[in-house]
Every structure is written in C-alpha cells, then in structure tokens.
C-alpha cells in the first residue's frame, strides 16, 4: 500500500513567486525568507515523495463566483499555470496522478464527502508557490506528480475547520488504502495572518502565527474546533484560509514529529509560516 512520508505546511503568497520571477531570491528583503526553506528542500530530496496532494484555494483565476465548489478534487493528467493577469508564469506544467485522484474521489464519496470532480483546470499561485518553495523551480519538469484539492475559503460560507480536519483523515485513509508502492506527501497551504480588505487591511498577528506553528503539530484537535469567526479574528479576513492546513494535519497520525519550522513576517502583507511534519 502507499505510504505518507510526511505533511508540509506553507504560506502561498503570490509575491513569493513574483520575487522569484524578478530574480530577488537573494535580495536582502527576501533572502531570510527563502533561506528558511532550505532544510525543508533537503527533507524533500531525502524523502523523495512520488505524489504531492496539495490542498489550496484558487483566487478567482481558474474559478469564478459563478460556481463555487466547497471542495473539489483535480482528476486531470496535467495542470498548467493560469494567467492571473500578467500572463501564465514561466514554470513547467504539473503532471497529475489521475489514478490516485479517482481512488480518492471514490473513497471520499464512500465516506460521505462529496467533492466536485474536475478533469480540466489550470492552477494559480496557491499551488505554484508551495511547489516552488519545497521543490525549487525545475528547468523542465517537476520531480513529483500533484493531486490538487481545491477548498473554498473566499466566498462565505467557507467550510468549518473541523470539516477540513475530517477531510484530512479521509485523505489519509485513502492514501493508506491505495494499492501502490508510491510515496505521498500532503501539503496544507495558505495563511498565516493577513488581511487585504477593508479598513482592517494590513492586520498581522505574529504571536498567533508562531503559536499556530506549534499547535498545528501538538494540539490539532483544539485548532479544528475553533470557529470560523475565531480564525478571521485571529488571523485576519484572508488569513483564515490557514484552516486548509488542517487537511494536511488530519491526514497524519495524532502524534507527529516536527522536522522543520520557519516563520518570517511580513512576506508582502502576510505572516509567512512553514512546517515539516512526520508521523511519530
């Protein structure tokens, strides 16, 4: 059966990708941020995952307000970068893992999760940036295949945090029951604190961000039982998307080991966090 080599959490701020595009990797403003990911990249090289399940949200680039799936699973053979307004970024397309995607969809429905099924879609910075941060930007092809899980965290009502945690548990069982020798890693993305809209724009909460980077490992049940309002109050209107990390955490065992952790604030307008977890 397939195995889970670990769970990764990271922010997916678009400015991170833009900084790479502009060659600012080693600029004073960005170097400490990117250097913090070096141990995680080393971890990825050592653990050699074959498939990355990436939990993220589209930011009205591939999906619009006309149809808003609460959960959607990509079942495509390939995912190209989407045009977010500046033209598609010059990074290789992502190869899918459609066989597992269909296994996952079957497993979810049989366990009373009913995602939208997507066979053709492009992906935005929400998926691109985490892949670049953990794998580095390849010249020709990504060394890992991806299964995107899209979560609506923009158009209220967004799902309950506990529901995302439960989705993670179902995802974990789907991987463990998948008849394959492949190695899986699960990425929870988004956050940490930021608010971009309204007169509370520019809200940051580094203390809560650092606490979250501890609690996501040690006290996930507590985080899963927070209300959505508490996430908005604590992490900001857009920072509440950090609930997507609960899918990653739910896919792991109750006891985990923190391999790496990194925090940098602000990346653009966001408290940027990263974590590497393994089952204990």
């Amino acid at each position: 059966m397939a195995t889970i080599v670990g769970g990764l959490g990271t922010s997916h701020v678009p400015s991170i990708g833009a900084a790479l595009d502009k060659g600012l990797r080693d600029a004073p403003e960005w170097k400490p941020f990117f250097d913090g990911y070096l141990p995680a990249q080393e971890w990825v090289r050592e653990r050699r995952p074959d498939v990355a399940v990436v939990v993220f949200n589209d930011h009205f680039n591939a999906l619009f307000l006309d149809r808003v799936p609460t959960f959607a699973v990509g079942c495509a053979a390939e995912y190209h970068p989407v045009d977010e307004g500046w033209g598609p970024r010059a990074i290789p397309p992502f190869t899918g893992a459609a066989d597992f995607s269909w296994h996952l969809v079957d497993h979810l429905v049989e366990n009373r999760f009913d995602p939208e099924i997507i066979q053709e879609i492009q992906v935005d910075h929400g998926l691109q940036v985490p892949m670049e941060l953990f794998w580095g930007r390849p010249s020709d092809a990504w060394p890992v295949r991806v299964v995107p899980i899209f979560v609506n965290v923009l158009q209220y009502p967004i799902p309950l945090p506990i529901r995302l945690y439960e989705l993670g548990r179902a995802l974990g069982r789907a991987i463990e029951t998948y008849d394959s020798e492949e190695r899986f890693v699960v990425l929870g993305t988004g956050g940490l604190s930021h608010q971009l809209q309204g007169s509370r724009a520019g809200f940051l909460n580094p203390a809560a961000d650092r606490r979250f980077l501890v609690d996501i490992a040690e006290n996930p049940d507590e985080l899963a039982n927070w209300s959505r309002q508490k996430y908005v109050e604590t992490f900001g209107g857009e920072g509440a998307e950090v609930i997507m990390w609960l899918v990653m955490r739910g896919a792991l065992d109750p006891e985990v080991v923190v391999r790496h952790r990194h925090y940098f604030s602000p990346a653009s307008m966001t408290g940027a966090g990263m974590i590497v977890l393994e089952n204990a």
């Binding site: 009205f60 045009d83 923009l154 209220y156 809209q197 309204g198 509370r200 724009a201 940051l204």
Partner: protein, 111 residues
C-alpha cells in the same frame, strides 16, 4: 456569523452586490480583456453593466470604494496588471494612510 469590524468578507449583501464588478475584473485574466480595457476602459466597463458609481470607482482607481461596493481584492487586483500599483498601496488606500505609514505601522516594516 457575527460581525467582525471592517471585515467585508462576512457581509453577504455586500458580497453579492459586487458580482458585476468582480465579473468585469475576472475578464482581465485573459489578454483580450486586458487589451480591451487598455484600448477603451469605459467601453470595457459598460460591457458588464456597471453602475455609474462603480465605473467612477474603477476609473479613478478608488480601491477603498471598489471594495466598499463589493469588489473582491483578488479580482480587482487584476486591474493592477494593466495599471500597476503595489498591493500595499491598495492596502494603505483602504485604511486611509499614506503608504510609508502603512508599511511601518501596520506591517512593521522599517521605512
């Protein structure tokens, strides 16, 4: 959901009101839409049936009002792909601060 001050995402009537403006901004996600916006902004906006209030807000790059009228930041941000402005400037405008004060006081940057 209970109200959280100055957080428009939790206001459904506000969100629904912005649909037309958001659809207009979504159109800037492709080269044809951007070319049309550049060529004749008013004509492009008219395609989407925007109100005069919305048109004025967009054409004057009044970010605070665009958001107040239900524009979603992730969508109206595409205007900045045609007419560049930093996201921190959009933030400062909504808060009513000058850019430098916003970077320093809200984001804790050394300026």
């Amino acid at each position: 959901m209970t109200e959280i001050p100055e957080t428009p995402i939790l206001d459904r009537a506000h969100q629904l009101r912005g649909y037309r403006m958001n659809k207009m901004a979504m159109g800037l996600g492709n080269p044809e839409g951007r070319a049309a916006f550049r060529a004749d902004e008013r004509a492009y906006l008219d395609r989407f049936g925007l109100t005069e209030e919305e048109i004025t807000a967009v054409m004057s790059r009044d970010w605070r009002t665009m958001i107040a009228l239900g524009g979603n930041l992730f969508l109206i941000l595409k205007i900045s792909a045609v007419d560049p402005v930093r996201i921190t400037e959009i933030g400062a405008h909504q808060v009513g601060m000058d850019h430098e004060s916003f970077l320093r006081d809200r984001l804790g940057k050394k300026v």
